[in-house]
Symmetry: C2
Subunit: 250 residues, 2 copies
């Protein structure tokens, strides 16, 4: 398993392999700009976002033998490198099931979203204990987060099959269908179920989920939430700017 | 003055010359995805967003002899065309002061944001009368909106110099400095001043201004607001999908 290399702070442009989904890709670009300690346009990080939603569905491919998304993702990676990206971020958790192939396709460093979430848990003061994971069925069933969390000394807690069908699955589908408001109820149901099992923090481990649980409603939950979009953005910023300059997620 | 040509609906990808500012560029990509009548990722429009904030400031160049942003913008246009864009959108009103040069640089159609705002006024049922304009000093002083609105049969109303300094200028600067919450008060002051002069609708004619006046607070104003980010997104969608499928701005 490759580790995300450290980005050279002299780097010129961040490439973003988006479109998985398009709202998550755009939201990542938005949060990256919003979390940047900049006073003028010119102080922001140059970003090239390839928000191409034609990439076949990642979950269907892994779980139901659907069309393989890897060729389309590799084409995107090559395009971003060819266009001058010094580092690439992929705001889609499920896509990280193909991380090693994606990193091998390019010579520039690729950020790993799960490592960024672990960095965010540290940033929020959580260094051990039970961590709930929400994500797509493929992310959960193939253990993308579990292996990283165990390696980092955490105890991962996952939703049951029934909870998945009542929480993560409808919340993610609602965001993908542009019914963001309808996503809050199932997402909060999922968070509550993980809290009942002792989770002290819950990972919103699919880039649709942070859109389901808007920032202004996060204080309603009695536990720490780590948002994979913001975690990716903050880790990018820490590599580009001095870490002490980076503001915490609002 | 060139007119935006109609985009061939068979087009494959929308190029976006963003970064002016970066929050506005990302917000355009976000609103385009959010306003799209899609049920799955794959039904969205493929977008390539070049969110490069290194383009020199447009207002300073036009009003104070600052560095010319045109070479950087032309480089961006050529990049977007070379990368397969079938149509280009520029979510920055002030950049449209260079529209003819930008359109001449590429063979693909470029959407004109001011035409999109006029389309949005029609969409909202405003076909004549006094229209207030908010924007950067360069946009206002060089008459970007005024000429289009007069041509379309409207009576443009602009803020006084004092009102500009108390409303548009601080609201735009606050958004560019990532202090979005601090932008609401000056922006609403500007809207109220234009309403007092008889405007029945106000154009948020700088792509930072829609961020200053969030969607959930727009009902507080007793007049129609037209948002240049949403107007550009809706006009793109009308060219890509059948117009009747396009939802109105939420």
């Amino acid at each position: 398993m490759l580790k995300s290399p450290v980005w050279n702070p002299g780097g010129r442009m961040l490439g973003v392999l988006g479109g998985m989904g398009p709202l998550a890709g755009a939201s990542f670009a938005y949060r990256l700009a919003q979390l940047t300690p900049a006073r003028t346009d010119q102080e922001h990080i140059p970003v090239l976002l390839r928000n191409d939603p034609r990439i076949p569905d990642r979950s269907s491919s892994r779980l139901n033998g659907g069309t393989d998304p890897l060729p389309a993702m590799l084409e995107g990676m090559r395009f971003l490198e060819r266009s001058g990206s010094d580092c690439i971020a992929i705001p889609c958790n499920t896509a990280h099931l193909w991380f090693d192939s994606l990193q091998s396709e390019v010579t520039v460093p690729v950020m790993h979203i799960v490592e960024c979430v672990v960095e965010d848990l540290h940033r929020q003061g959580i260094r051990g204990g039970k961590i709930g994971i929400m994500g797509t069925p493929a992310t959960l069933e193939l253990g993308l987060y579990q292996q990283y969390l165990i390696q980092a000394g955490y105890d991962p807690v996952v939703p049951s099959q029934t909870e998945m069908q009542a929480s993560c699955v409808p919340a993610i589908s609602a965001v993908k269908a542009n019914r963001v408001d309808a996503a809050f109820a199932p997402a909060s149901h999922g968070i509550a179920a993980l809290e009942r099992r002792g989770a002290q923090a819950v990972v919103l481990g699919c880039t649709e989920l942070p859109l389901a649980v808007p920032h202004h409603r996060r204080a309603e939950f009695g536990l720490v939430l780590t948002d994979s979009i913001d975690a990716l953005a903050l880790s990018v910023l820490e590599r580009f700017y001095a870490p002490e300059a980076v503001v915490l997620a609002v």
